[in-house]
C-alpha cells in the first residue's frame, strides 16, 4: 500500500506541536472573524455554532484514528492525545460563548441547564469529557494503569451525547446534524463489531482446544 506508507511517513515527520498550535489558533481566528463582522449579521450564534461543530469534528477525527489503522493501515495514533485535548478546548470555547455572549444572565444559565433537555445533554457531554482532558497526560496513564483505558471509554458516550445535542438544537430534523450522528454511530458501531470479532476469535481458540461442542 503505497499511499498509506506515504501518509504514515508524512505523519511521522509532522511535529505534534504543529497540531496543537493550529488547533489553538483556530478558535481565536473564528473569534476575530465574529468580532469584526466577517461572520454575518448574527455573530454570536454563528460563532457558537462554528465552535460546536468544530468540537464534533475533532471528536470524530479522534474516534476515527483506531478504525483507520485497523482497516486501512493509516497510523495517526501519535496525534490522538493532541486531538482529544483540542476537542475539549473547542467544546469549552463553545460553552463559554454560549455562557458569556449568548445567554449572558447567570440565573438563566442554571435554569437552562436544568430545564432545557438539549442543554442538559450538551452539558452532560462536557462533564464526561472533563476527566478525560484532565487525565490526557503520560503521568495519569502510568498512575491509573488499566483503569485509564476504562475511563477513556467515556469518550463513546460523549460522542453519542454530542451528536444528540446537535440534533436537538435544530428546529426541525436537519440533514447536517443527522449526518454527524450517522458518522458517530458508524464509528461506535465499528468498535462494537470489532470487539465481538475479537471475542469470537478468543472463544474459537479456546473452543478448538477443548472440543466441547
Amino acid at each position: 500500500m503505497v499511499i498509506t506508507d506515504h501518509i504514515n511517513s508524512g505523519a511521522r515527520k509532522l511535529p505534534i506541536w504543529v497540531v496543537y498550535a493550529a488547533g489553538l489558533v483556530w478558535p481565536v481566528w473564528l473569534f476575530y472573524l465574529a468580532a469584526t463582522g466577517a461572520m454575518g449579521i448574527d455573530p454570536v450564534k454563528a460563532l457558537e455554532h462554528e465552535l460546536g461543530e468544530l468540537g464534533l469534528q475533532a471528536l470524530i477525527v479522534g474516534l476515527a484514528i483506531t478504525p483507520l489503522r485497523a482497516m486501512v493501515g493509516v497510523n495517526l495514533i501519535r496525534f490522538r492525545r493532541a486531538i482529544g485535548i483540542l476537542t475539549f478546548y473547542f467544546v469549552s470555547a463553545h460553552l463559554l460563548v454560549w455562557l458569556i455572549l449568548d445567554v449572558q444572565i447567570l440565573s438563566e444559565i442554571w435554569k437552562d441547564i436544568l430545564k432545557r433537555p438539549y442543554i442538559t445533554v450538551g452539558m452532560a457531554a462536557f462533564v464526561l469529557m472533563t476527566p478525560l482532558a484532565v487525565t490526557s497526560n503520560s503521568w495519569s496513564v502510568r498512575k491509573l494503569g488499566p483503569r485509564w483505558r476504562k475511563l477513556h471509554k467515556l469518550v463513546y458516550r460523549t460522542a453519542a451525547l454530542g451528536g444528540i445535542h446537535y440534533i436537538m438544537v435544530g428546529k426541525t430534523w436537519e440533514a447536517e446534524s443527522l449526518i454527524y450522528m450517522v458518522v458517530i454511530l458508524a464509528l461506535l458501531g465499528w468498535r462494537v463489531h470489532d470487539s465481538r470479532k475479537k471475542q469470537r476469535g478468543r472463544a474459537a481458540q479456546s473452543g478448538s482446544s477443548t472440543k466441547l461442542a
Partner: protein, 267 residues
C-alpha cells in the same frame, strides 16, 4: 388614488430600524433552505410577476385577486414595527403595506367566519427547500378573525422605500407584530375564511413547541429555550440581550383580544 403618508403612522415605533442589508440578509424562509443565509442566496430564482391571491371560503366575492388590482384599491403606508422571532432574536423593520382588513373587506367576510387561513406559494423548480426540507408544504398560517382585522395586522409589500425583497416574502406577506415571526407568513397565494381553526405549519410539526396563537410572551418559555430576553440583531458580537416585552410591546393595542384567556395554555 392613494395619498402618500404624511408623517409617521401612530402604530410605528420610534426605535431605530435595522439596516436594509441586515433585514434582507438574515431570514427564515424554509422554502429556500433552513440556513439564515439560504433565502438571500436562492430567492432570486423566484418569479413574482404576475402574482395573484386566491381568496375563498366564507367570503361574498371569492376568486383570484391580481396583486396589481389589489394595490390600486388599498391605501399603503409605512409601519415601523418590532419583529421578534421565536428563536429569541429581534429586529426593528420599516415595513410598507396596507392593513389586512382592507383586503378582507374587499372580498366581503361572511358573518359565520371566525378564522383566516393563509398559504405560501409552492413552486418546486424555484424553491429548492421544497424538496430538501422535510415539511408538509405549503407553509400554512392562520389568525383568528379579530386578530386579522386588527389595524396592526398588515400585508406588507416593501421594506424602506424598496419593493419587498424576495427572501423577505415578496411580493406580499403578512405582518402580525405582536406574534412570533413565523406567524407572519411570506409570499402569500391563498387566503381562506373559515369557521374552524386552521392548521398551521409549525404547530403541525411540533404542537408542544408552537401553538396556534404564538403571541410574544416573555413569561411562557419555549420548551427548549427561554423567551424572557432576546438578541438584537445588528448589535455585533458583544451586544447586550434585551428584555422581551409582553405582546412584543403591543400590549396596549392587543391585550383586549385575549381577555379571560389563559395565555400559558393558549400559547
Amino acid at each position: 388614488a392613494i395619498a402618500p403618508a404624511l408623517g409617521a403612522s401612530k402604530y410605528s415605533t420610534d426605535a431605530a430600524p435595522n439596516t436594509f442589508d441586515e433585514i434582507s440578509a438574515y431570514n427564515n424562509f424554509y422554502e429556500f433552505g433552513t440556513g439564515k443565509e439560504d433565502p438571500a442566496r436562492h430567492a432570486h430564482q423566484l418569479t413574482i410577476d404576475p402574482w395573484s391571491v386566491q381568496i375563498g371560503g366564507m367570503v361574498d366575492k371569492p376568486g383570484s385577486y391580481g396583486l396589481e388590482d389589489i394595490l390600486t384599491k388599498v391605501s399603503q403606508e409605512e409601519r415601523i414595527y418590532r419583529f421578534r422571532c421565536v428563536e429569541a432574536w429581534s429586529m426593528v423593520i420599516p415595513w410598507y403595506g396596507f392593513e389586512l382588513n382592507q383586503l378582507l373587506n374587499m372580498a366581503g367576510v361572511q358573518s359565520g367566519a371566525k378564522y383566516v387561513a393563509f398559504e405560501t406559494l409552492v413552486r418546486e423548480e424555484e424553491m429548492p427547500g421544497i424538496r430538501s426540507v422535510n415539511i408538509e408544504w405549503p407553509y400554512r398560517e392562520g389568525l383568528r378573525l379579530d386578530e386579522a382585522m386588527h389595524p396592526l395586522t398588515i400585508m406588507a409589500t416593501g421594506i424602506y422605500d424598496k419593493p419587498m425583497p424576495k427572501q423577505n416574502g415578496a411580493p406580499l406577506r403578512l405582518i402580525v407584530p405582536w406574534k412570533y415571526g413565523f406567524k407572519s407568513i411570506k409570499s402569500i397565494v391563498r387566503v381562506t375564511l373559515t369557521d374552524k381553526q386552521p392548521q398551521t405549519t409549525w404547530n403541525m410539526l411540533q404542537p408542544r413547541e408552537y401553538g396556534f396563537y404564538s403571541n410574544v410572551n416573555p413569561q411562557v418559555s419555549h420548551p427548549r429555550w427561554s423567551q424572557a430576553t432576546e438578541r438584537t440583531i445588528g448589535g455585533g458580537l458583544f451586544a447586550k440581550r434585551k428584555e422581551t416585552l409582553m405582546f412584543n410591546g403591543y400590549e396596549e393595542e392587543v391585550a383586549g383580544l385575549y381577555t379571560g384567556m389563559d395565555l400559558a395554555k393558549n400559547f
